[in-house]
């Protein structure tokens, strides 16, 4: 894992101290709310429906056991015993008191964490494939470049007042688990014909009220030039991105208005200018130094499988189901990647209690796991587990109520906090997600349905990625009453697409039945081996729409 150098440590400490003074001045009345709000937002502190909310950055979704324990401690001492993992792989705490937030920042600094740039119109936390460094078929670990981007973008003087927020994600396999085409900048690690690794750079993806799949701007950007190229993109955006209308201020609007060719041309002009000065050339020795922090653990030379593992699969149907949905092949023989579902039926998607966080840290210590990952799908991941340890790890997860065998299945729902917590929301999302989970709780049925990604947001801002859901659900407000629109055919993966809106929304007591009718329609239409997404792409909206609105149509007569 990356360790802070003296500059990182100093920067984070100083920021915590500065915020302490700012909070003191606010409480004394030396700062008005209008003056204080931009300062608190730059430190990830929001004021929401019931309380403040503090967003903690988890850079590229990687945490150590020590950090996880500290997150548990903060949840216990400063929140109400739980935290929420977000679709940006961050951690959010509700209920902190304003005067105590500086203490939380100090505790985070103790474990090399912070809340810097988790809000506001700046470059936000950089995210990566949550299987980085472990998954087969990866060209290289994307996290060293994420760390370099983090250092370049933190307090970058030119990009602290962008037209709007700016999000970057990096992936390094053909399968895209980081939703790169839905980010302001998405980067895919690729290899050119000469065998050099570099980056394919996408710009202008995004969700919200105007969803777009990103445009390919850089076909191949060399490693040493990537910061110069990113800086060139940010410069074009900073200069020409709209500041007159918040709904048109993201880079997606500019990029799609100019088109890929013109946007690329402008970036190339800036890129040539930056390169001429040579200031942002990435020295190979610095890259090596950062890469060394992310070196994989020394993998033991193990047989492909382990007798303990095979015996447990035979003996325990629960474990067998879990291995089917929650394990991913590892690049090293005898190892597996284990996804820890935060979607246990009856729990808020993405929430973890302090006891669960402590329990996970304990598992990490007991089994010698250096890292745990946070995924944008609001799950956690143990990236390197010996297969022979899997039955014991699973038993420990079960004891923490974290053994749900539903990763990638219909109850593995991405869900924003919605109107239960969020000031921006129009409708609740968590109760609907929980009712859907209850409806589809039968594990056999879930496995039989295969990969179905339901993603749900409580407002048009789309924190719950509903545009990218195979089934997307958007909560809307009609005269103070909650309604839910269905979208079909979205994907945030390598086959990215924006979901199509089915029609008018369903009431909160109708939406679960409507989704079930959509799913049953898929079952009746699917070709062998076809996922819901593929069936939808083959047959289109009509049969799903007819089924979903069936009862309403009868009701109308």
């Amino acid at each position: 894992m990356y360790r802070y150098d003296e500059f990182d440590a100093k920067m984070v400490r100083e920021r915590a101290q500065q915020f302490r003074y700012q909070v003191e001045r606010r409480i004394k009345g030396e700062l008005t709310e209008d003056e204080f709000k931009p300062l608190r937002l730059k430190n990830g502190l929001y004021l929401q429906l019931h309380s403040y909310m503090l967003r903690v950055a988890v850079p590229y979704g990687t945490l150590s056991a020590r950090q996880m324990r500290q997150l548990a401690r903060i949840a216990r001492d400063y929140s109400r015993g739980y935290g929420h993992f977000t679709t940006r792989t961050n951690m959010q705490y509700h209920w902190p008191k304003l005067s105590e937030v500086p203490d939380i920042l100090e505790l985070l600094a103790d474990v090399e964490m912070h809340c810097i740039q988790t809000s506001g119109n700046c470059v936000r936390n950089v995210t990566a494939d949550h299987f980085a460094g472990a998954v087969a078929g990866e060209l290289e670990d994307p996290r060293p470049i994420c760390e370099i981007i983090r250092q370049w973008s933190s307090f970058h003087p030119e990009f602290n007042y962008l037209p709007r927020k700016f999000k970057i994600a990096v992936s390094a396999t053909k399968e895209d688990r980081a939703a790169v085409k839905y980010h302001d900048i998405g980067m895919e690690v690729i290899r050119n014909e000469a065998g050099e690794t570099g980056y394919r750079v996408f710009v202008g993806g995004g969700m919200g009220r105007t969803p777009y799949v990103a445009l390919e701007i850089g076909k191949f950007v060399g490693k040493e030039d990537i910061l110069a190229y990113l800086e060139a993109i940010l410069r074009v955006y900073n200069e020409y991105g709209r500041r007159d209308n918040i709904h048109k201020a993201r880079v997606k609007i500019l990029a799609h208005q100019l088109g890929a060719d013109e946007f690329r041309r402008q970036v190339e002009v800036e890129f040539a200018e930056i390169k001429r000065h040579g200031t942002l050339h990435l020295p190979p020795e610095e890259l090596k130094r950062i890469e060394a922090y992310f070196a994989p653990p020394a993998f033991e030379d193990l047989p492909e499988t382990a007798p303990e593992f095979e015996a447990a699969v035979k003996a325990d149907a629960g474990f067998a189901a879990w291995t089917k949905s929650n394990l991913t092949p590892h690049k090293a023989k005898g190892y597996a990647i284990a996804t820890i579902s935060l979607k246990t039926i009856g729990q808020t998607p993405g929430d973890a209690s302090a006891e669960q966080m402590d329990g996970l840290a304990q598992i990490m210590e007991d089994f010698g796991f250096a890292e745990i990952r946070v995924s944008h799908e609001q799950n956690l991941v143990f990236p390197h587990v010996r297969k022979k340890d899997l039955p014991a790890v699973y038993a420990r997860l079960q004891a923490l109520d974290l053994g749900a065998a539903n990763a990638g299945l219909i109850t593995d729902i991405i869900c924003c906090p919605g109107l239960d917590y969020c000031d921006l929301a129009n409708a609740r999302s968590i109760p609907v997600a929980m009712k859907l989970q209850e409806r589809f709780a039968d594990l056999e049925r879930q496995h039989e349905l295969g990969e179905i990604k339901i993603k749900m947001s409580g407002c048009i801002n789309a924190c719950g990625h509903h545009h990218a859901g195979h089934i997307g659900i958007l909560g809307v407000d009609k005269k103070g009453v909650e309604f839910y629109q269905i979208q079909l055919g979205g994907s945030g993966a390598e086959d990215a697409s924006v979901g199509e809106i089915m029609g008018p929304g369903f009431g909160k007591d109708e939406i679960v039945d409507a989704v079930e009718r959509v799913v049953e329609t898929y079952v009746s239409l699917r070709a062998p081996g076809e996922r819901l997404l593929e069936t939808y792409r083959r047959v289109g909206m009509t049969p799903f729409k007819n089924a979903a609105y069936q009862e309403q149509m009868y009701a109308a007569y």
Binding site: G29, E33, L49, D420, K479
Partner: protein
């Protein structure tokens, strides 16, 4: 009704008799827009004094023996998250008779659905 969040901890507070207090049931109801506007003006002293932030008026509906906010947002603010009944103001209220369900089906103590044209006060 007139509401805000307390500066120090973000707690939802309601206007009552020239000051703020956290209990929805004790909040002052304004039948006339003028009186509501006057309270909103008076409340600005507390904003300047750094006690509360985000003051605004919202609509409530009078029923036989209780008062309910018109919008779901204000129902949730007055109670706490509907998915965590152990959090927020509702945690301090007496438990409803059938408290076993983890998810709040309706939004007690207010019964939806709302009428199309509610009898609205502020």
């Amino acid at each position: 009704m007139l509401t805000a969040n307390r500066l120090l901890d973000g707690e939802v507070v309601y206007w009552q008799g020239g000051d703020w207090q956290p209990d929805f049931a004790a909040a002052e109801i304004f039948d006339e827009a003028e009186a509501a506007k006057a309270a909103l003006d008076a409340a600005q002293a507390f904003v300047r004094d750094n006690k509360v932030v985000g003051t605004y008026l919202f609509e409530v509906r009078k029923e036989a023996n209780r008062v309910a906010p018109v919008k779901e947002r204000e129902i949730i603010r007055s109670l706490g998250p509907s998915v965590r009944r152990d959090m927020g103001k509702q945690a301090l209220m007496p438990a409803p008779p059938a408290a076993a369900k983890p998810v709040r089906e309706t939004s007690p103590p207010y019964p939806p659905p709302y009428p199309e044209e509610p009898d609205v006060s502020i």
